[in-house]
Symmetry: C2
Subunit: 126 residues, 2 copies
Amino acid sequence: MNHPEAESRAAAQADPQAESRALAALGALAHAQRLRLFRALVVAGLDGLTPGVLAERLEIARNTLSFHLKELAHAGLVTIEQQGRNLVYRADFARMNELLGYLSEHCCQGGVCEIGPGSCVTGSSC
Amino acid sequence: MNHPEAESRAAAQADPQAESRALAALGALAHAQRLRLFRALVVAGLDGLTPGVLAERLEIARNTLSFHLKELAHAGLVTIEQQGRNLVYRADFARMNELLGYLSEHCCQGGVCEIGPGSCVTGSSC
DNA sequence: AAAATGGTTCAACAATTCTTGTATTATTGA
DNA sequence: TCAATAATACAAGAATTGTTGAACCATTTT
């Protein structure tokens, strides 16, 4: 119990819902418009963006945009805050990092390190 | 040009097909059976696994399995080698790392670092 | 060569996801 | 209160994706 990194990894792996959260996030990002949407929100950072701005910038119909934002929100990848009559959407970086952590674990397990140094993006256990 | 990391990042970003490859990989992994399939191949490492073994272990019908393996192969996430009358499927770690790199970039851009240290899995530019 | 094994392909159907038009809710400002 | 703005909700059709049974091809064994 004296290795915090390994501990948090084990915890992540023990979480029985980690897989379904990863699946939801993967599914949410596996769509061209949603991936761009999410990227726009990541670039916007803590300021976030309103649906109106997003619809204009990405040239997506408002109801279609609303549908896709809901998908991202349902997957936990974005948060919503109401400001007057506007909604502000923001990327949820913690959830995104959880996804990266999940994928990294499964990337590094059992073989990638035999292929070559630096082949794993995290470099953590390689 | 004296910073190889930044260089490889810029190259990755300049690649006009990076997004479509990322989308294909995300779509391939955004399915419970395929994600488990891929995980099994990652754990199997360089030895790989045959469809027969995978079908038995994961309890998937052979034709269904074949369909999903084809999806993974089409996304570039697995490779196929023929050995006698068996096929050996292996996870393509390079492609998986490319996906992680793509996602990491978009995770770290423009704001995540303001949230807190260590919030980004790669820790690279944070 | 015939039978067995390992695996894929195809077609048809089922299920899910995406889009679009229309209607609705909530907030702001005159 | 009335009109305008911001955004979502719903329903129906279109499109895509997933599953299954049956047929097929290649390799090995007898």
